[in-house]
Every structure is written in structure tokens, then in C-alpha cells.
Amino acid sequence: MKMTGDMNALTKRFEKLILALIPIPTSLAVLTSLWAVFLWVPTERNLGIVQRIFYYHVPSALACYVGFIIAALASIAYLARGKQVYDHLARAGVEVGMLFASMVLITGPLWAKPSWGTYWTWDARLTTMFVLWLVYFAYLLLRAFSRDDEMGKRFAAVLAIIGTLDIPLIVLATRLWQGAHPAVLQSTKADSGLKDPAMGITLAICMLAFALLFTWLWTLRFSVLRMTEAVEELEYRNDEALAS
């Protein structure tokens, strides 16, 4: 179908473009963020040095959500159109999203202990992030253990979609739950107290750096998946040719 042929060509062009252009800006952004976070931005009054985790924690969460939403959208396209390129986009999105989700779950408790006094609490945000991590971990396991046929990929797509649809349900359930037992700890994130404009700028730099990083990693992963598919196709044709 012309539409999907275009899609394939389109993604190839974007892939080449991104992989050519993105490394330098990303490296610059990340280096700048390192300087900004560790050398430039003033230390926050209440929490001290630990507050700096925030500058990596929040952009990681954003990158993770972007990854999972991309995966859900690509999965819908895959179920609807059936073209392999969408499946690659989805899978790459989940894998990179999981990377950032794991970062969120590691940096979060490290920050929580000094600020709230406990490593973990069951408020809506944390519970949602944890459940998402579980759901997409299940996605990765499903891909790993499935036979490499259409059905396996389609089920994975279904999981990716339902996982994202589940998000509001989890948030609602946790709010209903915690409403009855209000969280003893105040979930004051530091964004409620970004007093110094330098903090806002630092956050913006880190957001940019992570957005670029996500795009780079996602494109890389996508290109590897596509190359693997091409290699398998060649091997298959080779076997066919030898057999006949």
C-alpha cells in the first residue's frame, strides 16, 4: 500500500537525519546540564545538595512518559495497519521508556529519604510510576518469551495500549484510597518552591538534554531493530534460494 511504503521511506529519512544531527547538540546539552546542576545552580535552602537530584528526576519522568505514550500510539497504528515499522517504533519506545522509568524509581527514593524521611510512599504519583514500570516490564518479558510471530507482536501491542489506558485508572484508585487515609507526609515537590530563576533555567536545560537524549536513544534502538529485521529477511531469502 502506498501509504505504508511512504511510512517506511519517511521513517528511514528521519532516522538518517536524526542520527546525523543529534549527537552534537545532545552532548552539548548534557554537558551543560552537568555544569548547571553541579557547579552553577545555587543550593536549595531546605534540602541542601540532595535537591539537585530533582533536576534529573523530573526530566527522566517526562522522557519515560513520552516513551510509553509513543509506544501506545505506535501500537495502535500497528494493530490498525499491521506494518512492521510501527512495531519497531513501539518496541523502541518501551525499551527506552523503561530505561528512564527505572531512573525515576531509583532517583526518587534517593531524594525522598532526606526530604520526606522515608524511601517510599503510596501516593498517586509513585504508585502510578511503579505500576507502569511493572506493566512495561511485562511487555519486555512478553516480547522476550513470545514466539516471533504476528500474534506475539499483536499481543504486545495490546499490552502497550492497555497499559497507557490504565494510567488514569491507577491515579483515580490511589486517590480514592489515600483520600481515606491522607498521606502523613506532605508531598511537597521542590517545584513548588523554585525561588531562584537559576533553578528554573537549570530545569529547562535538563529537560532539553533529556528530550534530546530520549530521541537519540529511541532512534538508535529503532534503527537497530530495523537492521535486524533486514538481516533476517536476507537470511531467509538466502535459505530460500539455497533450498530451491
Partner: protein
């Protein structure tokens, strides 16, 4: 679709394997929890609902895979897919059979639950049954959908809990708290919040599962 349902039910009522195993597993799980938890009777309602739902979920995860497994083992799956019916009807049939199995299992488990925890469930029975029904619908929908997914993998029995449980987390949360509220004799308003949530969850899940089943390329 009704033929499918009738066939599965006929299979089950003749052999009664699934129900018997589900019931036994449920009993064992309740028993293990009672042994490992140390709760005085005055505070039993803090843990009992959670234990009940843990038993239901764990047992049903074992049972849900079976309806598809039987098909596959007998080579019926291919025949089913060739039949000129909606794929979604296959899902509905399996879902309803699974639901019926779960409800029967819960009906058997409930007296044991009341006995083990020394709870008087009779006054709350209608509301409790409603909560059980609502929870079972959600569990059966997700479980049926992903039972087929799990079957397609190399580690079948292990995959189903991995796939279904994270998605079911909000449902479980709602069920446990609704059950607790009902057993405490709470007002309609406080139970109502959870009830509305459960209904919403069930509607979303059943419809999503039913829709998506159509898009699965089951010929593969």
C-alpha cells in the same frame, strides 16, 4: 457463540476438574495466610478482605489459562478460528465461561472465608456479592485476553500473572476497599465511591478487550 459457551460448560460440569482445583487452591491460600498472619479478632477486618482477594486472584490466574489450553491441546483452536464467527465472539464466549467459573468458585470459597476468619457475612451478603461480581468481571476480562497471549509464549503459566497483575492493581485496590467497607457495614455513600469506580473499570476493560480481540491476528 452460545454453542461455544455450552460446549465449555458441558466439558466442565462433566469433569469438574477446574472448579475442584480452583476451590482447593483458594482454600489453601486462605489457610496459608491465616497461618502466616497474626491478627487478633478485633482487628481482623484490616486483613481479611485483602486475603480474600489475594486468594481469588491467585486461584483464578491458575484457572483462567485452562479454557484456552484445552482448545490448544485438542487442536480446536485452529478450527475455532476458521469458523465464520467474529473473533470478538470467541472472546465473549471465553470471558463468560471464565466469569461463571470464577463466580462459582467464589460462592464455594465464601463460606470457608467466613469460617476461617470468624466473620458474620450474612448481613452484608447482597452488597458483598455485588462487589465480588464487579471484581470478577474485571479479572475475567483481563485474564481471558491475556491468557491467550501467555499461551503463545515459552513460559506459559508464568506469563499470565506477569501480564495481568500490574494492570489489575487498581481493580484489586478498589475491590479490597469496597469489601472492607461492606463488611464494616459502611454507609452507601462511602461504598458508592468504590462501586462507581469498579463499574467504570469493568466497562473499560471489557470493551477494550472485546475490541482488541478483533485485531489480533490469531492465525499466526
Amino acid at each position: 457463540m452460545f454453542a461455544l459457551i455450552r460446549k465449555d460448560l458441558l466439558l466442565e460440569t462433566r469433569s469438574k476438574e477446574t472448579i475442584a482445583s480452583l476451590f482447593l487452591v483458594g482454600l489453601l491460600i486462605l489457610f496459608i495466610f491465616i497461618l502466616s498472619l497474626n491478627v487478633e479478632q478485633s482487628r481482623v477486618l484490616e486483613v481479611a478482605p485483602g486475603v480474600l482477594w489475594a486468594a481469588i486472584v491467585l486461584a483464578s490466574l491458575l484457572g483462567l489459562g485452562r479454557t484456552f489450553l484445552i482448545e490448544r491441546e485438542n487442536g480446536c483452536l485452529a478450527a475455532l478460528l476458521l469458523a465464520p464467527i467474529d473473533r470478538s465472539s470467541i472472546f465473549l464466549a471465553k470471558f463468560l465461561v471464565n466469569l461463571l467459573l470464577m463466580l462459582t468458585f467464589e460462592a464455594l470459597l465464601l463460606p470457608a472465608f467466613a469460617l476461617f476468619f470468624a466473620l458474620d457475612v450474612l448481613p452484608a451478603l447482597p452488597k458483598l456479592c455485588t462487589v465480588l461480581l464487579a471484581g470478577s468481571i474485571g479479572l475475567a476480562a483481563a485474564g481471558t485476553l491475556f491468557a491467550l497471549a501467555a499461551l503463545n509464549t515459552r513460559s506459559r503459566e508464568l506469563m499470565l500473572p506477569v501480564l495481568v497483575l500490574p494492570l489489575e492493581v487498581p481493580l484489586l485496590l478498589a475491590c479490597v476497599h469496597a469489601t472492607e467497607a461492606v463488611l464494616r457495614g459502611a454507609s452507601l455513600a462511602s461504598v458508592g465511591r468504590w462501586a462507581v469506580y469498579l463499574v467504570g473499570f469493568d466497562v473499560l476493560f471489557v470493551i477494550s478487550a472485546w475490541l482488541m480481540f478483533e485485531y489480533l491476528d490469531l492465525d499466526g
